[in-house]
């Protein structure tokens, strides 16, 4: 097993958002600013990696029939830990991400990797798989978030990047719901186009 490949596959080739279309709900909801995108991405990566580790460690102890509920308990525990820690130490981001922090537990990426990889592989590859997929997720979020923040507010990470005239009157729809959907659709189409060309 090529460990490096396990780590990097989540970035482009099997990017959870753009290629596998998983984890769509948080993707559209938190990408109105790059700061939120990074916050969510890192939180999800933490949960994904930790749950991958635990599940890989106990995979032989869990009867197959109840494996899904057991995975869910493990994932939900790490989500709660992230929720409490963020509330205590990064309250601003915790407030911005709001409902979507506990919703990490139903992020299909995490349950998907637990079922497809961590329950069938050893700990080290599982760590790399988790980290890789999580970072790929974060990458996708940051890309979408950048487009939306630059177009919708003329800023990137809160810093002005567009001429003042644009900032006075930006394309607001990009940070609102419709813009999220449309930008996502166009991005996916673009990626499909690029892949076809290869």
């Amino acid at each position: 097993m090529n460990l490096w490949k396990e780590f990097t596959k989540g970035f482009i080739k099997e990017n959870p958002v753009f290629i596998m279309a998983l984890g769509l709900c948080p993707t559209l909801a938190v990408t109105s600013s790059v700061e939120n995108a990074i916050g969510m991405g890192l939180a999800a990566t933490f949960v994904l990696t930790c749950s991958n580790i635990i599940i890989s460690l106990v995979k032989d102890l869990i009867p197959s029939k109840i494996r899904i509920p057991c995975f869910i308990v493990v994932i939900a525990s790490f989500v709660t830990i992230v929720d409490l820690v963020m509330n205590a130490y990064t309250p601003e981001i915790h407030k911005s991400l709001g409902l979507f922090i506990p919703l990490i537990v139903v992020n299909c990426i995490i349950l998907g990797r637990a079922e497809a990889f961590a329950s069938k592989n050893k700990v080290l590859p599982s760590i790399l798989d988790g980290l890789g997929m999580g970072l790929g997720f974060t990458l996708a979020l940051v890309v979408i978030g950048s487009i939306r923040e630059v177009l919708g507010a003329g800023q990137w990470l809160g810093m002005n990047v567009m001429p003042m005239a644009y900032i006075k009157s930006p394309m607001l729809v990009a940070i609102l719901a419709p813009g999220a959907f449309i930008i996502m659709g166009l991005l996916m189409g673009l990626i499909k186009l690029v892949n076809k060309g290869k």
Partner: protein, 200 residues
């Protein structure tokens, strides 16, 4: 049957271990979380009344308003409605002003503003501390530019320009502007009554 019991026990065991770990994490973070909220409000207070170094809380009971309770929501607070404000004392322990939180539903969310009031009942500074209005429109209520429009205003001037007052409302966000302005005006009226009552 025995098989199902075994399954149930495994799940129960995992859940119990998880709950234990979470109880531990909750224990270490609970106080910090509570503290954060208090700290945030304290900082907002200091920001709107910059020369105050010490604050004292006062509560006034408001006359009961015949409000129809929402049958679909839990009763939020029991007991009579209360208005809370703070007296600000500077480093020489002289009274320098007051602060209170103004709150009103705007366009799509409750808008909460921390208001600092000078002794002559004009505004020293305001800070919008909570809102979820439309980004780019009503959400601009949190900008320094909008908040600056309230400096030195007294209670009579506190209406948006559309209603004949002195506050220029945000472009395309009259409702949000009105919510902020009117909530502050209401609060200042109650504050003025409370303060004069205290002097007596």
């Amino acid at each position: 049957m025995k098989y199902f019991i075994k399954l149930g026990l495994v799940l129960l065991l995992i859940t119990a271990i998880a709950s234990g770990i979470l109880a531990y994490v909750n224990g270490i973070t609970a106080d910090k979380i509570k503290g954060n909220k208090v700290l945030a409000e304290q900082e907002a207070r200091k920001e709107v009344l910059s020369d105050a170094s010490r604050f004292e809380q006062r509560t006034v009971t408001l006359p009961a308003v015949a409000e129809e309770p929402n049958p679909l929501k839990n009763k939020a607070e029991e007991g009579p409605r209360q208005f809370m404000y703070y007296l600000g004392y500077d480093k020489d322990d002289q009274l320098s002003g007051y602060t209170f939180v103004a709150s009103l539903y705007g366009y799509s969310s409750e808008v909460k503003t921390m208001v600092g009031v000078n002794l002559d009942m004009t505004i020293s500074k305001i800070k919008v501390i909570e809102q979820s209005e439309t980004p780019g429109l009503g959400a601009n209520a949190s900008t320094a530019e909008f908040q600056g429009r309230f400096l030195s205003m007294n209670q009579e001037q506190l209406k948006v320009d559309k209603d004949g007052g002195a506050i220029k409302s945000l472009t395309g966000a009259t409702i949000t502007s009105r919510a902020v302005t009117n909530s502050i005006a209401d609060g200042m009226k109650i504050l003025a009554d409370a303060v004069s009552g205290e002097d007596k």
